[in-house]
């Protein structure tokens, strides 16, 4: 049913339609509304059978999800930012044990400095955890990706993070088509675990593995993700047939056929990028967009094929590998090895800094002219940065960086208004 609703509420409804049997929740902004809404559904008896477990921390949330999944239950949780970091040890265990948990990550920056706004630092910090990561462009896609994620996770017996931009998507009211229970039931069969803790047929889940077998177990995790490269487009095609819309898949191209310059990004910023590209197209610029939906597994061949006929690309990412540059850009450059394509990286939107069409117009034109350094920091206030650097040159006790920058910018504390 088509409705105007908040992203978080829409995702909660989608999760409910997927019939999770255990939901473990610890509140952290900006995912709180999702688990709140699910808690209400369970309490009201609208989502049954399902156990909603309040836990004392994110570490416990993932640990309970692991236990539930190992016992054969369809398990779900959601988190963001420091919450994801706090559960990191259990995150690796969930994938190492091959448990098909689905988790929403309402993407948010990681502190310090403390900041509750959106970027992609949190889930990207778990890049090598063995979890798959799918990025939603809109709230509709967030809804649809969760439904596809349970199917894929359980087929492969591996966990998936569905990533949606915190606040920008989670708190946005927009039009979303919520499928019917019958549609979801037809697409997502009941969970048939590959392994289950059953007193009648005892097994060990989580046996210690020495050097003689560890590499094989790890390789199999990689092999599963390589299988996912095959399955993700198939599941998206099946989804389209059943639900009538394009959602998911590995990548999505926009105006790339004759594009000389291609902008690459993940998540909701693709919308602003597409609007900018539409305006530039009207002026005759040969520019297109490549959205990456599946960050893990990373679709190397598909990205290469999408870029191969262009002349240059710009990866615009809401993440920073400190001391190196782009995180997504590294993977994209790997994909185009040997093609001779020119590549640029723009770090943008960290800690919730708005990414505006005006800034993108300027940036994309510079990319077209190949007038960018290898790594650009979009809308960085160089005056503030240089002032602090100068302060550090002048004074040994230069003080806390965050406080100094706020002071230089004339801000008393983080701006909420």
């Amino acid at each position: 049913m088509l409705k105007q609703t908040e992203g978080s509420k829409a995702v909660a409804e989608a999760i409910s339609l997927c019939r999770p049997e255990v939901i473990c929740a610890y509140p952290i902004s900006p995912q709180t509304h999702i688990v709140e809404a699910l808690g209400e559904m369970v309490k009201a008896g609208r989502l049954t059978p399902c156990e909603f477990i309040n836990v004392e921390s994110e570490f416990a949330a993932m640990s309970v999800a692991i236990g539930a999944s190992a016992a054969g239950a369809r398990a779900y949780t959601a988190t963001a930012s420091q919450g994801l970091l706090f559960m990191a040890e259990a995150v690796y265990n969930a994938s190492g044990l091959g448990l098909p948990i689905v988790m929403t990550v309402a993407n948010r920056a990681i502190g310090a400095p403390i900041n509750i706004w959106n970027d992609h630092s949190d889930s990207l910090s778990q890049r090598d955890s063995g979890w798959m990561q799918l990025f939603a462009e809109t709230n509709q896609e967030a809804v649809d990706l969760h439904i596809q994620a349970f199917r894929l996770a359980e087929e492969l017996s591996m966990p998936i993070m569905v990533c949606m931009d915190g606040f920008i998507l989670t708190h946005a009211f927009e039009r979303v088509d919520i499928p019917s229970q019958q549609q979801v039931d037809a697409y997502l069969p009941p969970f048939e675990p590959r392994q289950v803790l059953d007193p009648a047929e005892p097994v060990s889940i989580g046996a210690m593995v020495g050097p003689e077998a560890f590499m094989e177990v790890r390789y199999l995790a990689h092999a599963k993700q390589m299988q996912a490269i095959e399955r993700i487009p198939q599941l998206a095609a099946e989804f389209k047939q059943a639900f009538g819309r394009d959602s998911g898949g590995l990548i999505r191209t926009y105006c790339t056929e004759d594009a000389e310059t291609i902008i690459i990004a993940m998540g909701s910023v693709l919308g602003t990028i597409k609007d900018t590209v539409d305006e530039m197209r009207l002026e005759g610029h040969k520019i297109g967009v490549l959205g990456i939906i599946s960050y893990r597994p990373f679709p190397l061949a598909q990205v290469r094929a999408a870029l191969i006929n262009s002349k240059r690309f710009l990866v615009l990412e809401k993440s920073l590998a400190v001391g190196m540059g782009g995180i997504v850009a590294t993977d994209v450059r790997m994909a185009v090895t040997g093609t001779g394509l020119k590549g640029f990286t723009a770090i943008a939107g960290l800690g919730g800094r708005p990414i505006t069409k005006a800034s993108l117009h300027k940036l994309f034109r510079e990319a077209e002219g190949e007038a960018l350094p290898p790594v650009t920091f979009l809308d960085l206030d160089w005056e503030a940065v240089n002032k602090q650097l100068e302060r550090e040159r002048q004074t040994r006790r230069s003080g806390p960086v965050a406080e100094n920058i706020l002071h230089d910018k004339g801000i008393v504390s983080a701006k909420f208004g």
């Binding site: 900006p30 708190h171 927009e174 990414i355 208004g417």
Partner: protein, 193 residues
């Protein structure tokens, strides 16, 4: 695309106003996108929320910097932040106040613009009268419907009934209806309250 920015303070239903505006637009078969200025809302602190209305899918995710309309739920904000920043030359302004635009010293702002698109409305009083709470958001939405014609009063009432129920819904509908009629009267009377 029509873009609206709502200013107010934490506790005044600023975010709810933008969301209800999007619901009212959706009821008319249009695409709408409402979102808050992301952050921790605290009672009394300045809060901003946004709403875009369009006949096609809305993909843009930047904050609204050049609004077609500005709704101000708390006139004390005029002294604190530049609530009119980026307002388009042909833009609308609806302000919660018993005083007129001129009395509020905003004559300069209106100069060179379409004066009939500037209006004040005693929305807090209407909220108190009909709902028993000094929440100005719903009367302002109905006033905005009257001022701009962008949405219909019936759609605002639909959004009210989706958000509230029982006595609260009825009170809000009454507040909205009076607000709508007040603004319409001011517009036809030519004199701004």
């Amino acid at each position: 695309m029509f873009q609206i920015r709502v200013h107010g303070r934490g506790g005044q239903g600023v975010v709810t106003a933008a969301e209800m505006l999007s619901v009212a637009s959706f009821e008319e078969g249009r695409h709408a996108q409402a979102f808050p200025s992301f952050g921790s809302e605290r009672t009394g602190a300045p809060v901003v929320a946004f709403c875009r209305i369009s006949d096609k899918e809305i993909r843009l995710r930047e904050p609204i910097m050049e609004p077609d309309a500005i709704i101000i739920q708390d006139p004390t904000l005029l002294h604190q932040i530049d609530v009119f920043a980026g307002l388009k030359l042909d833009g609308y302004v609806l302000l919660n106040s018993r005083h007129s635009i001129e009395e509020l010293g905003l004559g300069e702002l209106v100069k060179g613009r379409q004066a009939e698109r500037f209006c004040t409305l005693p929305a807090t009083e209407l909220g108190l009268k009909h709902v028993g709470r000094p929440i100005p958001n719903v009367p302002l939405l109905a006033g905005f419907a009257a001022l701009s014609g962008i949405i219909r009063l019936e759609s605002v009432i639909k959004a009210i009934n989706e958000k509230f129920s029982g006595k609260v819904a009825a009170g809000n509908v009454a507040a909205a209806t009076e607000a709508y009629n007040l603004v319409k009267e001011m517009m036809t009377g030519g004199a701004h309250a």
